[in-house]
């Protein structure tokens, strides 16, 4: 059995009266793990702990064979870490190249030629080579997000922690990013939080669903999807028995619920269906998708 690169035992974190994480146990190995969960579930809190930015209040956190007790331990982990925060601002007036280069200096690239080559490499990975010298403030939201991503990719980290990496990216960029991440994850442990279930379905071997600071599901993506088999069906009207139903582009209603009625047209579930089932969504929060 492979030794876990990320190990959390009974991890808790409180902010005042709010328990953002409560008794979280996790063991991750190289590969891509997707983190799903509603707003406020504790995804960012968990990722900040994995990125050594935040200390847990209780429990054990071991990353890349280090517990984080001493500053030396934290530095050792940070040397092999890439982190994309959910929100990242940039110093005023910086170009993409300058910002990523600045981060590369902080990630201990001393020699300028090697550093610059690495900066160009990651900017190319996120398809920003041609915009590298433009001021970040003049870039689009998605392009800015890619600058933030570029700095996380510096030095091919062993542990890559990405908080909503695909937010704001256009479909082509998302697919391109999936390729980069899949390649990176061949030798690294990659954890990404997202609200895009299709990214998890396309990328991740494993999915963790957080809810109210607890792990609600931890397993293979296929396992979660399989649990929804026979529980997704199409109908001409929203099914009152369904947990969630919404009108699709074809004009028909997609229903997700405990069990499809016997005569219903059952379809293959997606990860999103499975996630909604897990979350126990009700018809009252059914989503209308315009035709």
């Amino acid at each position: 059995m492979i030794r876990p690169t990320v190990e959390l035992i009974g991890v808790g974190k409180r902010f005042g009266g709010t328990a953002a994480l409560d008794g979280v146990d996790l063991a991750l190995t190289p590969g891509i793990t997707g983190l799903l969960g509603p707003n406020g579930a504790g995804k960012t809190t968990l990722l900040r702990i994995l990125a050594t930015v935040l200390a847990a209040d209780e429990g054990v956190v071991r990353l890349l064979d280090h517990d984080l007790a001493t500053p030396q331990d934290r530095t050792a982990v940070r040397r092999r870490l890439g982190y994309l925060p959910q929100e990242l601002g940039f110093p005023r007036g910086f170009s993409a190249f300058r910002f990523v280069d600045y981060m590369a200096v902080l990630k201990e690239w001393g020699s300028a030629p090697a550093r610059h080559a690495e900066v160009r490499r990651v900017l190319e990975q996120v398809d920003l080579a041609t915009l590298a010298t433009k001021r970040i403030s003049t870039l689009s939201g998605g392009q800015r997000r890619r600058v933030a991503l570029a700095q996380a990719l510096l030095g091919a980290p062993d542990l890559l922690v990405l908080d909503e990496p695909t937010t704001g990216l256009d479909p082509e960029q998302r697919v391109a990013l999936r390729r980069v991440l899949a390649e990176t994850a061949r030798a690294a442990t990659l954890v990404l939080a997202t609200h895009q279930t299709e990214d998890v379905a396309a990328l991740c071997d494993r999915v963790i669903v957080l809810s109210g600071g607890h792990v609600q599901f931890d397993g293979r993506v296929a396992q979660l999807v399989a649990a929804a088999t026979g529980r997704v069906w199409l109908a001409d009207a929203p099914d009152p028995a369904a947990q969630a139903s919404w009108r699709t582009g074809s004009g028909r209603y997609r229903n997700v619920g405990k069990a499809a009625p016997s005569a219903a047209e059952v379809v293959d579930p997606t990860l999103e269906d499975a996630y909604l089932l897990l979350r126990g969504a009700t018809t009252s929060d059914s989503i209308e998708v315009p035709a």
């Binding site: 900040r48 990125a51 050594t52 930015v53 500053p71 530095t75 940070r78 040397r79 870490l81 982190y83 994309l84 925060p85 929100e87 990242l88 601002g89 940039f90 110093p91 005023r92 910002f99 600045y102 981060m103 200096v105 902080l106 990630k107 201990e108 690239w109 001393g110 090697a114 550093r115 080559a117 690495e118 160009r120 490499r121 190319e124 990975q125 933030a148 700095q151 996380a152 030095g155 091919a156 922690v161």
Partner: protein, 304 residues
């Protein structure tokens, strides 16, 4: 993909600080406000250089202190604050916050170098176009150097160091304005008290507590000069201690464990040296303001 991912080797201690200091120094040197300040300072420096009536040890030092020193304080403050929006990512890098602050402090050699340049120009000008001896007041060669170095080099170093410390600690909007108002207010208040007296421990003490002061002022039409109280050399050492304290204050932000303890120890040393130098600056040198006349005669300054 064009290149294979590489990873940096674990650097030798201090090497990241060196590289980062270079980066920050370049940012400082290219900052538009700094460049504007230096450019504006060149004009009075050049016009005063061969002006026999210029305030040799007096008001001239105001230009580098204000146009390079105070301006650099704002620049240093802004540079320090500029990466705040990326703080979340900066917390996850192997380089410690104290190293980043240290690099910013080291970058303050850029404005200090401008101060050194001003001092060199001034010394060359004095050598090339020697003013009449009475224009140095009561001050000998050594004191003259200490006065000029304090007004230029130390002001151009200390003010930006204070800017870095304020950038790390202040958490309010318009912090730069507050900083400038605070420092200039402090200097002006000390000076105003001194202007209304001809010496005395309290007035000298207040004047020399401030990070910028003059030791020589001219009367109308350069008919006489007033040499002020206090010891210029000990005052210079007091300024050095203030620079040290500003640096320690900046570095203490985010410092933990052993680093914090070491910083506090060095800080205590600066406090002791500073207080000693300050005490000696106030009690040394002239006890009363002395007026020096063009014929070389010296009289006690008239009561103000």
């Amino acid at each position: 993909m064009t290149a294979v991912a590489t990873r940096p080797r674990v650097p030798a201690p201090g090497s990241t600080l060196r590289v980062l200091a270079g980066v920050e120094a370049r940012r400082f040197a290219r900052h538009p406000l700094f460049l504007a300040g230096v450019a504006t300072c060149v004009i009075p420096t050049v016009t005063a250089a061969n002006d026999a009536n210029s305030d040799v040890l007096g008001g001239d030092g105001f230009f580098p202190a204000l146009l390079v020193g105070v301006v650099s304080m704002v620049v240093a403050y802004q540079l320090t604050r500029s990466t705040r929006r990326s703080a979340e990512a900066l917390h996850a890098v192997p380089t410690a916050a104290t190293t980043r602050t240290g690099a910013l402090c080291l970058a303050c050699v850029v404005p200090a170098a401008a101060g050194v340049l001003w001092l060199a120009v001034k010394l060359i000008a004095i050598h090339r176009w020697p003013p009449q001896p009475w224009m140095f007041g009561t001050f000998g060669l050594g004191d003259r150097f200490a006065i000029l170095a304090g007004e230029s080099v130390l002001a151009c170093l200390g003010a930006p160091l204070l800017g870095v410390a304020a950038g790390r600690w202040l958490r309010i909007r318009g912090g730069a304005v507050l900083l400038v108002a605070g420092v200039t207010g402090w200097v002006t208040a000390g000076f105003a008290v001194a202007l209304n007296s001809t010496g005395g421990l309290l007035a000298t003490g207040l004047r020399l507590s401030t990070p910028f002061t003059v030791f020589l002022t001219s009367g109308k039409g350069y008919r006489s000069l007033d040499s002020w109280t206090g010891s210029p050399w000990w005052y210079l050492l007091w300024l050095v201690a203030l620079c040290g304290l500003a640096t320690i204050a900046a570095l203490l932000h985010g410092a933990t464990g052993g680093t914090r303890t070491r910083l506090l120890r060095v800080g205590a040393l600066f406090v002791i040296v500073g207080l000693l130098a300050y005490g000696l600056a106030v009690t040394g040198g002239l006890r009363r303001t002395v007026t020096v006349h063009p014929d070389g005669t010296r009289t006690a300054a008239a009561a103000r």
